[in-house]
Symmetry: D2
Subunit: 448 residues, 4 copies
């Protein structure tokens, strides 16, 4: 059976991930992501109203025109998890394919949210929730499976396409976490089994985001311990404390909520995306928030919440807000600019449970946000965080466990893939033979 891989997006950047695998006449597309930075650099771009081709030209969504080179039918679109760089282009591209969108439940709910906002295209692909212990037939001979992995969002998976020639493991976005906070540990056992089933692993597409980082990415429980150390140290503080983190990082939000209670504060989630992600997780029963946990997304209700905080005493609350990268329109930045009813007093604390994504735009915006907060008297705790991506030792480990015949580094530009290549070579792979360094829009034929 011919197995072919199309490297549609995410092979020249972090963002707009998209990869198609053709097995005979059947095709599965993994991820359809958005490169948000390509949107935000422009003022006043409303992607909801934009046409796919314009977004492709901007480099914002995957250029799926390479799909015409693949002879076969798309049988499923499979987002690995709910981050925008993996699901953000579904609303612009999925309607072109007569195929269901298949993912774990939390991811499907987030995809739903995306589709509801879309105003240009009517996307009516079937949405199929699938769990790691289920299988879906792809054509007559292949089968799709979602292996549970741990990342900075719940319900992350590594989809595996089982073919007669071996498995294709789409390995994007994970760290090997043996102690995640609200989920099962990373399922290395299943990967080991896959490596030993049938023909073993034909191809492994790897998340090389952190290929330049030595050692091992620590567990989420490490970030949780750090956060605990910080928050417990503030137990005696009677003024305002504000926390910010990735709104999609439900485990981290859960830790913030818990520790807020521990130090005698009522947590309140503020900001549209805070409400969306945590609200979804709660409605699905995936987290167990306290009954009175407030979540407010709309401007008016946010303002009301802030007023209540100011009236009842800042010392009684922990607002958990958006804005960890200093995004100019996010809640924390607005608080820094004095645009909300929340007033900082000298000595109030702001906890960034996030790391600045290292790029000058973010660094500049975050710096400005911190300056504004400091000018109001606030003090900063930063980097209370661990990455969601494998470091070098994780890469070694995955190669060792899966023993893939072919390796395809993804989720980075060539400069960074260049950090992964020597690592794979040290394990016996050879560029141009079984280690495939691709650009966006290429096809790689693995078997004939």
């Amino acid at each position: 059976m011919e197995i072919e891989i199309a490297t549609i997006g995410g092979y020249e950047e972090v963002g707009r991930n998209c990869t198609a695998v053709r097995a005979g006449d059947d095709i599965v597309i993994f991820d359809m992501g958005l490169n948000l930075s390509k949107v935000l650099i422009h003022d006043n771009v409303e992607t909801e109203r934009m046409h796919s081709l314009d977004l492709i030209d901007m480099g914002a969504i995957p250029d799926d025109r390479v799909m015409s080179d693949l002879e076969g039918d798309v049988k499923a679109i499979v987002p690995t998890h709910g981050h925008l760089d993996h699901i953000g282009a579904i609303s612009k591209l999925a309607h072109r394919y007569d195929a269901p969108i298949v993912a774990r439940p939390f991811t499907i709910e987030l995809v739903k949210g995306q589709l509801e906002g879309e105003q240009k295209f009517g996307v009516d692909n079937e949405l199929v929730k699938m769990d790691p212990d289920e299988r879906m037939a792809i054509g007559d001979e292949c089968e799709l499976e979602l292996v549970h992995v741990t990342h900075s969002i719940i319900d992350a998976s590594n989809p595996v396409l089982h073919t007669p020639e071996g498995s294709v493991v789409y390995g994007l976005d994970k760290r090997i976490d043996h102690n995640p906070v609200i989920e099962e540990p990373f399922d290395m056992q299943r990967f080991r089994e896959i490596a030993n089933e049938g023909e073993g692993v034909l191809a492994y597409i790897e998340d090389t985001t952190n290929a330049g980082r030595k050692g091992r990415t620590p567990s989420e429980s490490h970030a949780r311990n750090h956060l605990k150390d910080v928050m417990y140290s503030l137990e005696d503080y009677s003024g305002g404390i504000v926390a910010t983190t990735f709104s999609s990082h439900v485990s981290r939000v859960t830790s913030l909520v818990e520790f807020a209670k521990d130090i005698g504060r009522q947590p309140i989630l503020l900001g549209r995306s805070m409400e969306r992600y945590s609200g979804t997780a709660e409605r699905m029963g995936r987290v167990n928030f306290p009954d009175n946990l407030g979540m407010f997304g709309h401007r008016k209700s946010v303002d009301r919440a802030f007023k209540r905080i100011m009236n009842e005493g800042k010392g009684n609350f922990l607002p958990i807000v958006t804005g960890h990268q200093g995004e100019p329109r996010a809640m924390l930045t607005r608080m820094g600019r004095g645009e909300t009813p929340f007033d900082f007093d000298d000595g109030d604390k702001v906890i960034f449970s996030a790391r600045v994504i290292p790029e000058p735009t973010n660094e500049g915006q975050r710096y400005q946000s911190e300056q504004l907060l400091r000018m109001q008297g606030a003090r900063i705790y930063d980097d209370v965080h661990v990455s969601g991506h494998l470091s070098q030792e994780g890469h070694y480990q995955m190669l060792q466990e899966l023993q893939p015949q072919h390796v395809i580094p993804a989720h980075q530009n060539l400069e960074n893939v260049g950090k992964y290549v020597p690592l794979a070579e040290s394990q016996g792979y050879k560029m141009g033979r079984d280690l495939h360094v691709a650009r966006n829009g290429q096809t790689i034929q693995l078997t004939e």
Copy 2:
């Protein structure tokens, strides 16, 4: 005679420079500058309509309330040169003093421009133009002199207050340039004479901006040579070339204008501040621009100029524009966003004859500006520049030539002053004795 120095502003930051010297009953104030970054961090702040006290609270202008500790009359306000961090607060503070503003001619013209824009206060201090070979009496026993120095703007000076106790040399903003492009060389001879007149130099207030940089700041002719190398290499290019630099840097603009002609292009200055500084210099006969040099500041005339460039062929022109720091509203950034009639083609060149001022906000904005330009096909030449401030060897040399009894480092925060202190100590000064590390708002009594 009592000599006392008040360190009003610029002793904790780069910006809002202001220092007063009292000699007996007479006071001279050197510089009244603006810290622009403290203004720009806020959206929509219009300083023209703001009150002094609010601007003081923002840290934007010098807090001159320490002046009430000085017993005496202000006899002159003496800006060293026309940069905003030296003249930008005159419109907000000078009216409080019954004293003329005394400076070299180009500086006075720029002060005039500042005062015309002011909408809150009526500043009607006399404006007095003074040349380096003139002297002004300050009270009965003292005399003011402006020594010619070289900096990144023409008509820069180091004011010297000659007192019976020795001279006080206000040494802000200079490099030692033996080959400036359109001015006389740095007047070291005059400094040597001052060191040997009367009681010698009582106090020297030093510009420590670059105290961390090894060696010697090169001459403006070095930047000019670099620019020539770049521009001559583009002689055969028939597409668009755009240059940006500090609009106040008339020497640099002159070099750009000359080399544009040399490679067969008509230079055009675009942007309000480009028009202001270069127009002023031309009207005063300080530069000799070609007759047909266009300078356009107003939106409409700028657009007309761009349309003419597009119609007659970009290859015939060199637009010299504002925006070297990626300022969001400057001309080059607007060109990058496609907001002007100028279109970039693949391979067009943008020359940054400037260095990014190393601060995350600037770095982020400049990065975004370059990204926008690149997305349109432009290619970047950066860092065609030399600094206007002394490096370490200049500091050594000034101490050696002046042999001041007291040294007062200025124009930096304490972190950076910390790089200057060991240098001065190696020359025999001692902190707390004759090396005075001050904060904003202190007074230092030098003689009784």
Copy 3:
């Protein structure tokens, strides 16, 4: 009573800490440290045989000639803890004073070791062990106390001189750790009491090492958790694992020893200083190492240990060695160069439970050490560590708890003290009034 402080060493550098406090006629000297980098930059310098004045000229030990300006008798020399930058000059300077050396027991033992190595001077000052609950009279009116603090070595203290004018708190080298691994938590309660006793705190000398770091330095338990995450992830690895950390960091060594057992490996401490510090702690009953824990310092016994490891299988051992900064002669660097019987195989792990001290020499040496290790096939885990020094929030907290009348930043050069000054100013202190920025060799008179 006159209280005067002499800033003898550590006010222009990290290293050679030394401060004297005179209360009336009685003087206490806190710390006599060595600046090791000033020694190591020279080849073949043997400090053991060198004269004090030569070491002073090199900047290696404190220049205590300022002591002649203090009129009084030295009653005690009080090292805060056992790091070289606090005790390393005792062997060169203490014999000049007719006074006992007073410190916590572990520190005294380490001082003893220093004195035994000394070959130039005969230092026979009395060595007095003192615990935090004891007091020592200093003259008729003053009393010395050692408050328990937490740092990266056990038995760290902040000595307090109680005087009729208030307490002088010598606050060097600590973090506020509520969960240290093998010691009591930081004794904030005692500091609070001191702040409220008698005249309160007259002066506080602060450790400004990390004044530029935001937030709070995490607990040692955070480093321990990180280490656990790393080591447990290696449980299945059957090849060689090597760990390195500060040999004086007995808590960290203890964690390494424990986790080694947990993953089925026998820990072995290798290197002279490993043997010295851990051996001392064990003999004193301060740690509870397993009976069979090997500690080897001499070349021959080290080689025997390595041979045993190679013979019995690297998978059974965890060598814990010196060399975390890539020091050219340390054990790990020698292992990297192949100078020991230990052979690395591809995939063997090296855990750096330490951070590179950020200075180009260290960075270069550490880089070389890692290169050598990698060339042998080893893989690196780095930065499994937390700092032992207060970050900004710790500084705020200490000022708030102690409410000192005077603050004297120490343990850094002026560039870094410049990061502390705005912090203290924000709490109401004023440079030149009650915030004393000093250089080495000054005296500060606090009361008359």
Copy 4:
């Protein structure tokens, strides 16, 4: 005719450059370089006595075992210029091939020097000097030419193999310099002709060292102007001045020699490699040094020279020495350690006419060297230098002028090649089609 390229060395690193081109049955090898850093990381390695295979294993010299995959005879070994990373492995590898070594005269002389030092292998390949206006037949149908290019050493060339299928241009190590100091300008005219002759350019192997640098590498005359600015500013200094630069950079040495005379000092070249390169250039009549220019390489004669300098007065001399990277055994480092008769006085100057090669080992060593010099009172001028390699605009220009059918980036690791690839793609090349990203040891078949 089959044209095939073997990427032997320099495709994964900066160093050990080596590329073979097979045209039918005839092979030409371009460069046989040494990766010096792989040697220096080991203590006491004497390459002169080492076997090739050991050096290959160390990564120090090209692994030419891939040559067995090329069916044909080596007709010439063609080093582009005399830097070690281009000629340093000739003494270890050339004897394996029955072929002459063909290069420009200065390069041949330096190769001779290399071969004389070799103690393991007897290399007796014929040495053939060839000028840019000459041609050498390679087999029946091909011809070799050396195009004159400008680099940081004289007599640099880009060899071109003219084949019936088009030219193969080996483009390593150049900048486009229209005003080099002692040579002819870069011969762009000849490249243009080659692009238009016969089948045009079949393949271009590009020097991507600086692919990450924006803009244009300035001319050597820019560095010369900078050096002049620095040295003329020291005209009045009567103490010691020392300069260091790349000993192979004969143009720079010439500028140093000239400016030394201009400011009234006698230049003296000190250090073995200073003597070798400059002596060779002088004997060949390539430079016109003053008659009395001293050059001393041997320890004794160097010491005599230093003694003479000290006796006759440092103010009369300019020692030009090795050690610009802080190499531990180089002359300047030895001077810093006080191991030579030269004594520094406070205020003496050291001019680094070189840039630190950005790698932690160099940075650490250079930092130590500067520290040692400063401890003796010396003051540092650094970065009086320009790079010898093309920046981005040079890369664009070469592609535009040559219009090669195939592009092969070299002289870097994959991380840095990753900066070149988007540049080439923007000019229409496509990775995997006509843009060949290779690793060491691959073959690329261009025509059949």
